[in-house]
């Protein structure tokens, strides 16, 4: 049976499945218990699984991640919620120096099955520190894996796959898409795709548009807007580390053009990495340089100008025009 769920609810049901599947799974974070999280992603879970498994923590992000490391050494599988993207930095040391390196420095003797859920990105009219896109910091760090879901069905499966993984995963949730609805096959017993796989969400022939998380919807809207005029192929990366660029290479070899779209600033961002690798693998297929459509290289701005800062349908189409005008 498929159900129509919001992305937020799909995550909630996915977390519920994970808690049911393995009693070593814990949920911990600020306000995740009675309140169900500020976005209600953990709504009802403490009521059904108890305070021992769904833990309201002290307000200390480094403490959330640092204690998760110890719980993982003890055999638990903590799913940590960081309330907003801009609040992950107090935990940055524990994530980068401890979580990411524990398996390596133990030569595989210690596993770190920790999921770090972060609602990320802008577009909700928030005050500062509530709209950031920190993915590059984490994707740059060896030992971490980074994924981002873009739709309810992926959200439902990817969160369960992340919890089941023995590697630490930074799980980026597109907060402005939490309320978007989609069909989720909650009866299926297994996902139809591996966690670290990109997906062609809309086939096309003229230009490839790569996005992830909140920008997949934007890229799809752009493709719809120029339908009949230009045929855009939209690819959702889903996994930012490791990248699954096989489908991108295959696409670019057909289209000859690539636009990478993300909210994060362009400078040393995911788009730069994709561009470098596509250039290396598809050099003779490219009709134009790989272009990026991204947030500007400024701090995330005030809410009244965030619509100008964030890539939208028109900015994506402007990028498409530029690649054809090369």
């Amino acid at each position: 049976m498929t159900e129509t769920l919001t992305l937020g609810k799909a995550l909630n049901v996915g977390l519920r499945r994970s808690l049911e599947a393995d009693d070593k799974v814990l949920i911990m974070g600020e306000d995740v218990g009675k309140l169900g999280g500020v976005f209600r992603i953990t709504d009802g879970l403490q009521k059904d699984f108890g305070e021992d498994r769904v833990i309201d923590t002290p307000l200390a992000e480094s403490g959330i991640i640092g204690t998760a490391v110890g719980l993982a050494i003890r055999g638990y599988r903590p799913v940590c919620e960081i309330q907003f993207d801009g609040f992950v930095y107090p935990a940055y040391d524990q994530i980068v120096s401890q979580v990411a390196k524990m398996t390596y420095r133990s030569r595989g003797k210690v596993k770190m099955p920790i999921v770090i859920r972060i609602p990320f990105g802008g577009g909700i009219g928030a005050v500062e520190h509530h709209s950031e896109s920190p993915e590059a910091y984490f994707a740059h760090t060896a030992g971490l894996k980074v994924v981002s879901c873009s739709n309810p069905n992926d959200a439902y499966w990817m969160i369960q796959q992340a919890v089941a993984s023995d590697d630490p995963i930074v799980f980026l949730e597109p907060k402005r898409r939490y309320w978007e609805k989609g069909e989720v096959d909650t009866d299926a017993t297994a996902p139809s795709f591996p966690l670290h796989s990109a997906r062609v969400v809309r086939p096309g022939t003229d230009c490839t548009v790569v996005a992830y998380g909140p920008m997949v919807r934007t890229a799809l809207d752009a493709a719809t807007a120029v339908d009949g005029e230009r045929s855009l192929e939209v690819i959702d990366l889903r996994s930012l580390s490791p990248l699954d660029l096989g489908p991108v290479y295959e696409s670019v070899r057909r289209t000859g053009r690539l636009i990478v779209v993300h909210e994060a600033p362009s400078n040393l961002g995911m788009g730069a990495e994709v561009a470098a690798r596509v250039t290396e693998h598809c050099f003779y297929s490219l009709e134009a340089p790989v272009l990026r459509v991204t947030g500007f290289n400024t701090p995330y701005p005030a809410a009244r100008v965030e619509e100008e800062y964030l890539p939208d349908l028109d900015r994506v189409l402007d990028g498409v025009d530029r690649t054809f005008g090369w």
Partner: protein, 381 residues
């Protein structure tokens, strides 16, 4: 002020450093080797136990000296000596039950030894052939942690897991001990660990070896109150012990561990000691402390006082002391031989274990690097 006026002579209030008062702490054995009583703490040791503690102290000091020598000879990249802190480590290490879990810094070689772990284990880290890899659960001793204070949160999380597993509340309960130094008490992670342990009533002992220095910075740069008093603000007991008195350290630690395993929550122990050597072999303490201070602490040496006690009580004779020295020397030689025998890792292994479940990116890099290395084979290199 009109020209020619004389400025009033200002009286300068000089805040002269008063000589630090002798700290109040739990002590059961004076620096002279006199056994003294304490109203709350005691030990119940046999003669053999006393001799065993002396053997531990001598052995860990001798092995430590060997590691320092190995570094001076270029066989270790760096060494963090425990010289002066033997009683703090042996006393607390011997207070542990087999089921207890240790989260060390990078200086707990003496605790590791008392856990019955081969002292060679951490030397791979200091030689640089790996990063100190072992299975924490196999040895009930976590890997060394170099980032200051980070391990206190790991210990807290582990202790929360112990409680979740229902392993507290009886004499067979599991306790966790987190080691750290005086400098670490300034870290956010340590303070967060105090908060978490307190509100979750975690079965943990915070064992602070206050060796008076964080590299060059004296204790006064970290705190204006005695460190053990900080515990009160977090809602659990704090106690200071003579860190150079192996008997007192043992008694206080055993008591705190028992409280933890019985479900009474955390304790902060401040073991008041002194780092007789450098912070590490890369450090030069003559730049920041005076010889007379070191000499004053030499009079409180943790090993000498146990020897004095054994002699006064006629629990050991010269033959015993000679045999202990000789046995420690043999262990040190054996340690040295095995350090020299440690092979360098195959460079291809540097791609291994970044992830438990692998990564296509690393598979690709490993393959490319292997091909690159193979391209040299048979060449003049």
């Amino acid at each position: 002020m009109a020209k020619g006026d004389t400025a009033p002579a200002r009286t300068r209030t000089t805040r002269r450093a008063k000589p630090a008062p002798a700290p109040e702490f739990v002590q059961l054995l004076t620096p002279e080797g006199e056994r003294v009583d304490h109203p709350s703490y005691t030990v119940d040791f046999t003669d053999e136990d006393y001799r065993g503690l002396y053997r531990d102290l001598v052995t860990v000091r001798r092995l430590d000296a060997e590691a320092t020598a190995l570094q001076r000879q270029g066989e270790l990249g760096i060494w963090a000596s425990l010289l002066g802190q033997e009683a703090a480590q042996v006393g607390s290490g011997r207070a542990l039950q087999p089921q207890d879990m240790v989260f060390p810094t990078y200086r707990e070689h003496g605790v590791l030894y008392c856990r019955g772990i081969d002292p060679i284990m951490p030397l791979s880290l200091f030689r640089g052939v790996d990063q100190g890899a072992w299975d924490p659960n196999e040895f009930k001793f976590n890997m060394y942690t170099i980032v200051i204070g980070a391990q206190t949160l790991h210990a807290t999380g582990y202790a929360m897991g112990v409680a979740k597993d229902g392993k507290v509340g009886g004499p067979d309960g599991e306790a966790v001990v987190a080691y750290f130094g005086d400098g670490a008490t300034s870290q956010g992670d340590v303070n967060e660990a105090f908060v978490w342990s307190s509100v979750f009533n975690a079965p943990i002992v915070f064992f602070c070896q206050n060796n008076q220095y964080a590299i060059s910075e004296p204790l006064e740069r970290q705190t204006r109150v005695p460190l053990f008093q900080r515990a009160a603000g977090f809602g659990f007991p704090g106690i200071r012990v003579d860190g150079n008195d192996v008997l007192a350290v043992y008694a206080v630690t055993r008591d705190a561990l028992d409280n933890a395993r019985q479900g009474q929550g955390p304790t902060l122990i401040e073991a008041y000691t002194y780092r007789m050597g450098a912070h590490t072999t890369s450090d030069d303490p003559t730049r920041y402390r005076i010889a007379s201070e070191v000499e004053a602490w030499q009079a409180k040496d943790p090993v000498k006082r146990v020897r004095a006690f054994l002699e006064k009580q006629k629990l050991a004779d010269d033959a015993f002391f000679d045999e202990v020295d000789e046995a420690a020397r043999v262990q040190a030689v054996h340690l040295r031989e095995r350090v020299l025998d440690m092979p360098n890792p195959d460079p291809r292994t540097l791609f291994d274990h970044v992830y438990s479940e692998g990564s296509p990116l690393l598979d690709e890099e490993r393959e490319q690097f292997s091909a690159y290395l193979a391209s040299f084979e048979g060449s003049a290199h």
